[in-house]
Symmetry: C2
Subunit: 377 residues, 2 copies
Amino acid sequence: MSDVISENKKNFKFTCTHQDPNCAARAGEIETPHGKIPTPIFMPVGTHGAIKALPPSELVDMDAKIILSNTYHLHLTPGSDLIKKAGGLHKFMNWNGPILTDSGGFQVFSLQQKSIKEEGATFKGPKGKDVLLSPETSIEIQQNLGSDIMMAFDECIPYPATREYTKKSMDRTHRWLDRCVKSWTNPKQSLFGIIQGSTFDDLRKECAEQVIERDLPGIAIGGVSVGEGPELMEKAVSYTAPLLPKDKPRYVMGVGNPEDLLMIWENGIDMSDCIIPTKFARGGTLFTNRGKIRIRHKNYRRDFYPIDPNCSCYTCKNFTRSYVKHLFDSNEILGQILATIHNIQFYLDLSKRAREAIIAGKFLQFKKSFLDGYQNN
Amino acid sequence: MSDVISENKKNFKFTCTHQDPNCAARAGEIETPHGKIPTPIFMPVGTHGAIKALPPSELVDMDAKIILSNTYHLHLTPGSDLIKKAGGLHKFMNWNGPILTDSGGFQVFSLQQKSIKEEGATFKGPKGKDVLLSPETSIEIQQNLGSDIMMAFDECIPYPATREYTKKSMDRTHRWLDRCVKSWTNPKQSLFGIIQGSTFDDLRKECAEQVIERDLPGIAIGGVSVGEGPELMEKAVSYTAPLLPKDKPRYVMGVGNPEDLLMIWENGIDMSDCIIPTKFARGGTLFTNRGKIRIRHKNYRRDFYPIDPNCSCYTCKNFTRSYVKHLFDSNEILGQILATIHNIQFYLDLSKRAREAIIAGKFLQFKKSFLDGYQNN
């Protein structure tokens, strides 16, 4: 075992405290240098070191436990050297809770102009300049940022992918993983490995074995939510999760809708992140226990109820649908702010409720009851 | 005296508590049904029933005393009937402090497509439909909104204006004023008259006499900050203010820069409003005691000081110039939010400091000391 891995065990702990007796759902706690994280947990996304349209004070008020930020974007602007000089990302953005940084591997999937070689991935940056992300640079950037949890640099491949390409890519991703582990020097930060393998069970299995072998602090399932649809996503998660050790946190990356979250939690996943609540909020789509609503719709003009009468967020406690609709109709930024507060709180509350249900051994009832009320419109 | 005016005196009081011995600057207090307002006071502008880019909780935290909202804009969206149905503007926007509504008279100045007749002003609305604002409709809308202070419907004329047009317009504005008084039925709301007269002293004087004669709860100086420049603005204010009764609040509309505020306060003005702090904030221009800074400038990239080290706002207490610059560089809405919080707090603090200086009988020293440090760049 490398020194950094053994030293890291003092700074990072995961305890599975409750196992639902009727499904794989589980509750637990992660300890990081910046605080404890009850699981299952949803992580709001702060791509550029800020949750879009959310005042940071609200993030504290709504009891968020951990946020995600992006290596690739912070590397471009303002640069991780600058953030290091500022005292790290926690201090730079004034968020004192845990932070997870992705590795840039998702951008290998999502950005168009790139070339992937053994060395790493080269992107066309916004000013036309080449930007290289490699296992070494990704970890260097993440160590400059000082996140509590770093992700290994991988290739997140699109759906559909051929078996041949998937195999070739995952083998390279495993070589990249070893280079990430080698670059990892700060034991206060934890490195998670990522399982790829697209929709091929045997490749998922091989990936899982490879990642487990490295004995890293946590394990992620990547390469889902890349266009494969909910059935194949569930198939990949439900196949892969049981292969993983029980004593490490499991993170499904980039998921998802409330229905998806319930699915991954049922399969024993502990962590997830997604831009859906923030992105939808800015477009005026709000989550409620009865389904999504599009707040610009004329029906809400004279609707003096809160967005969700059962929600305890700042927006729902203080404003009506009518007012929020008016703000969107008037292109007021405050509309996006109030909608974002609501959607993030909705996601955080959903994970809190799921956790309570798991602790009570009633996750499946909770899931059924939620989905019965929730109309996926 | 009309019933509503005499009944209103129970709901609205102004007391001039301190007169600076060395200039006309004065401090006082306005009482409204939604709370007391220490004067001089700056009123942040919430055109559509929301201060642009400002979470309402911050407005409370920064101890704002009164805000302004716009009749014309709220008439278009969502309509004052709806706001009345919602329980009034205070309840609709969840702001429990005093609100002043303008009358739409400024839009007679600022909007291009309109025709002005004895009846009122007809605008081309955003969907091509004609929108009539008259003394009667303006007061009806403002009474639907339920603002604490309503403004009389006037014609705010541009600079330069001929003497002939100014005279013709102000005579009509006085006839409109009588129609406003006649339409005013709710004594919990107070109606302020507005002095026009452009740059003509004798017409300003005639206007002042006409407005004073109506014995309204407060008096505004309008038609300044319409392109006439700081010298003519000061000339109009310093000429008009001494004509006004000491026992009524004086409001200069739409002003302005920090230098302008110091000028009007020196002349015994109690209230003002301006979009400058919010509009500049969204563009990345921030006010400090050493002058304005453009936060996107490369100099701030590695500047880990607060926007203004002497400012106690949420932004300055929690974030650096470097971070705020990064947010603007990344087009993050949070940049606009943090900049807006700072600029409004700066304006509110400036009026608070001016008030304290007046109470100490040292306004002129305060003004000199502020301007010595403030570089108008």
